[in-house]
Symmetry: C7
Subunit: 94 residues, 7 copies
């Protein structure tokens, strides 16, 4: 994996449907959308972001739920990733 | 329950219709919408959020009323939860 | 009454039409809307709200005028209340 | 008069058309609207408003010009008043 | 002249067409609008405005260019004035 | 030239088409618009602008590229100028 | 290359399609848009930007991924560049 996020950004990878079923977590909403459980792949350094100190609290390997629609999608070596700000991560699945 | 909210987020679970009737609280509005009394299931750690110190004042087990439409819905092990920011909680029902 | 407002929120109850007439206060506007004189039923603790110190200056029993359309409506034990932020209260009627 | 404005709010009363003509001040604009010269009837205490210290500089009896469309209208004992924030007052007429 | 601007407001008076031609300054834009060279008639005291210290740098008699559409128009004793914030003044014509 | 910009404003003059070609810089975009290389004609004093200290870093004679659509156009003695904030200047051409 | 970015701006150059394929990175999204991997060509000095200290963390030669649609395009000596704020850079490709 060769993407290094900047500032308060976090690179996540959507968990496959099988895993989603296994962990029993499905996002529901107005529209039936794809589940948004993802695994953290890389974490930015945090620090001053827009003039505010941001401490990174998620770490590589965490399973997380993010706000729908947040983040930018990117494909690296055939794998799709999403880049979000840490503030778009709602909860960690334990 | 295996969701750990981040920052100032709170995981709540809508109280069943029966309970709502029992406690006698019904939200009214322009549109007749579902009651928004919920029970707090998990509370984030608070701390610096968007550069501002947030102290969490709700606790697990509190019955709360939230702003309508606020929060993201998520289904865990067949149960539906909502993830809101503490600032979206209007009042505690005692 | 069993609602405890959070932060800078205030629970108010619209004053009945009779009382409104008695106190002689009627809100006018583009559209003829219901008067917005209300009685304060409960006051949040104030404190840090969005990173700013808020001191609560209204108190239970105050008759107040609020911005139209502000607040969320809620029905408790058959009574309708409105939950507003203190900053939405324009004036106290004495 | 029994309205006590909160925070940085000011209660004003539009000056009658006769007085407006006498003082020779007429607001003009895209649409011919009613003059917006008003007399200050009550002044809030100022202090911290949205986290910023506000010092009240207008006083009861001042004749003022306000931004058009600003403020909420209210009728007390048959008289119409407008409640504005001090920051919506553009100038004092002397 | 009997208007005393508040805070960071400045009262200006559009310079007559003849003068505009004389000084050779004409504002151009998408629409051919009236020139926006104006003379400063009165200057507010500055000080804390929206929580920020504002020092007034224009003075009575300055010829200034303002942002188009900025300000409120007012007619005093048959003369039309515009009330702008100092921040809407782009440059002084010398 | 008799325009003295205020605060963080900078007066610039679009460089003629010939010069643009010579320097080889052409702005491209959704719509083919006029190049936006300009020469700095006058620089405001900087200082506190909207409560923030601004240090002016461009100087008279700099060739600059600005955000499209930014600034107000003004004609002085038959010459057209644009007044922008320093923050709208993207880069200096050297 | 003769463009010197100001403040927190960064000049980047989209990487050619061949290189994009070679590095195996393709941006995906609602619409199939051009990949947004770019090389950093010049980096502004950072410092106080909108009243906030910005430290530049990207450097010339970095391959970066930016938010789609961010930045202004400019053509210098026949080459197209994009000028973005550092905050619009999501990640560095290593």
């Amino acid at each position: 994996m060769n993407l290094k996020p900047l500032a308060d950004r976090v690179i996540i990878k959507m968990v496959e449907a099988e895993e989603t079923t296994k962990s029993g977590i499905i996002l529901t909403g107005a529209a039936k959308e794809k589940p948004e459980v993802a695994e953290v792949i890389a974490v930015g350094p945090g620090g001053m972001v827009d003039g505010k100190e941001v401490v990174m609290t998620v770490k590589v390997g965490d399973k997380v739920i993010t706000s729908k629609y947040s983040g930018a999608q990117v494909k690296v070596d055939g794998e799709e990733y999403t880049i979000v700000r840490q503030g778009d991560i709602l909860a960690i699945v334990e």
